[in-house]
């Protein structure tokens, strides 16, 4: 008796095992645009573009450059990027391998400029930071600001009005 062992693959569907590391996919609903995957990616298949004028951040994934090491999945804080067990990625055009996730940047509530981080990043940070330990008032006040404004407000809050007056007087006396 002859037993046929040849697979009927292209004519019949085949499925990779569940733990197979196939092409990665970014879930756009869960991605926060932090760029941790970009830092971890050895062949730079993932890049991050920040457009401060338009207020847009793009995470660009190119499956054609990906070596399926799974390090992006390991570092992703929100579980957005996952290696699926889909393997049928062959294509006639390289453009078909690209996935782009475009997210909005946060607008600083004090100076009105765009910051380098997204609104989603701030949302996640607010969830993670332990409110029992930190100063909640200062956190809520400054987390919506850009980096420069944070520095300025922190300084102006720390230096009391009285101190400012004394310091000004001191400087004046030295100058004179």
């Amino acid at each position: 008796m002859v037993r046929v062992i040849t697979v009927k693959y292209p004519l019949k569907e085949a499925k990779a095992p569940e733990e197979y590391r196939g092409i990665p996919y970014i879930d756009p609903q869960r991605c926060i645009g932090c760029g941790a995957c970009r830092n971890a990616c050895p062949p730079n298949a993932i890049t991050r573009e920040i457009d401060l004028e338009k207020g847009i951040k793009r995470i660009v994934l190119d499956v054609g450059r990906c070596i399926r090491c799974g390090r992006c999945e390991e570092v992703c804080p929100s579980g957005a990027i996952k290696l699926t067990n889909v393997f049928e990625a062959a294509s006639r055009q390289r453009e078909n391998h690209v996935e782009i996730v475009e997210l909005k940047l946060l607008r600083c509530s004090r100076c009105g400029k765009y910051t380098e981080f997204t609104e989603r990043q701030v949302m996640l940070a607010l969830e993670i930071l332990p409110r029992e330990v930190l100063e909640v008032e200062a956190l809520d006040k400054r987390i919506w600001l850009c980096r420069d404004c944070r520095r300025e407000t922190a300084l102006s809050d720390a230096v009391d009005k009285e101190w400012k007056w004394y310091y000004g007087k001191l400087v004046k006396s030295i100058w004179e």
Binding site: P10, Q29, P43, R68, F87, R94, E132, V133
Partner: protein, 273 residues
């Protein structure tokens, strides 16, 4: 690139059926070559699709190129390409390296055209720096099914499944919907998540942590959660076959109370994040 292939089919009034393939290694690590060997075995048997490996490019319709195209091999690839009959001259790039340079994308030893950046979208590099490519088969290495899929794409047996994805955020609502309320505070959850990764690795991380959170949720409802949690975990471990998961759940239980007590008493602790 694609047009020459279509022209070939229409001239003869039929589509491409039987392809003779010549295999060129342009500096690959032999991963892709081993997978190419696999598709010739009786299990995958590429010859049932009419594809045959030939020993000289003069007999070949298609060039099956693996590797990131090093400078040493560039001249050999060009010679193999020019030795092919002028029609149809198909080039199939097998593997991530051949598609875009892969892990070797910024190596000094690679052949590349002047100008542009290696971060352009889609990424530059690989075989398409030198010769036009008809089919790209990414993968590192691609499994035999992937190569068979790519070749049957050339033979028009299957349709393309990947396409360019572009997502634009409109409001924060999309994101808020995905945030599920977890039974413990997010800070604790992320610390435990990192701990779980250290023990069972990234693949099983979410599955094990979800199981643990389920048990915690059940335990927190009772009057003495500390006692109830250890009871429930013992109960679950008696059934669980995987020793890694058993070990992990016990470590997680210990860590959960350590972190929770520290957070409640506002002490400084070492988080795993």
């Amino acid at each position: 690139m694609v047009s020459s292939l279509k022209a070939y089919g229409s001239k003869r009034g039929h589509k491409l059926k039987s392809v003779r393939v010549f295999h060129v290694n342009s500096g690959a690590c032999n991963g892709c070559d081993i997978e190419l060997l696999d598709i010739l075995t009786p299990f995958y048997d590429i010859e049932r699709l009419g594809v045959k490996l030939v020993s000289t490019p003069r007999h070949a319709h298609a060039l099956l190129v693996t590797g990131p195209l090093t400078r040493k091999t560039a001249s050999a690839v060009v010679r193999a390409y020019e030795a092919m009959p002028p029609e149809p001259r198909i080039v199939i790039a097998v593997g991530t390296c051949a598609c875009s340079g892969g892990i070797f994308y910024d190596s000094y030893a690679l052949y590349r055209r002047i100008g542009g950046s290696m971060f352009d979208v889609p990424r530059r590099g690989g075989i398409s720096e030198l010769i036009p490519v008809h089919i790209y088969i990414p993968g590192c290495p691609p499994r035999p099914e992937e190569i068979i899929y790519g070749i049957s794409l050339l033979l028009e047996l299957v349709n393309e499944r990947v396409s360019k994805q572009y997502y634009k955020e409109e409001s924060l609502e999309d994101y808020k919907l995905t945030r599920r309320k977890s039974p413990i505070s997010e800070r604790l959850k992320y610390s435990l998540r990192e701990k779980t990764r250290h023990i069972v690795g990234y693949f099983d991380r979410d599955r094990v942590l979800e199981k643990f959170l389920e048990i915690v949720q059940m335990a927190e409802k009772s009057e003495n959660p500390r006692k109830r949690l250890s009871e429930l975990i013992d109960e679950y471990c008696a059934k669980e076959e995987d020793s890694r998961v058993r070990e992990c759940l016990k470590i997680l239980e210990r860590d959960y109370w350590r972190l929770k007590n520290a957070l409640l008493s506002r002490e400084e602790v070492i988080y795993w994040i």
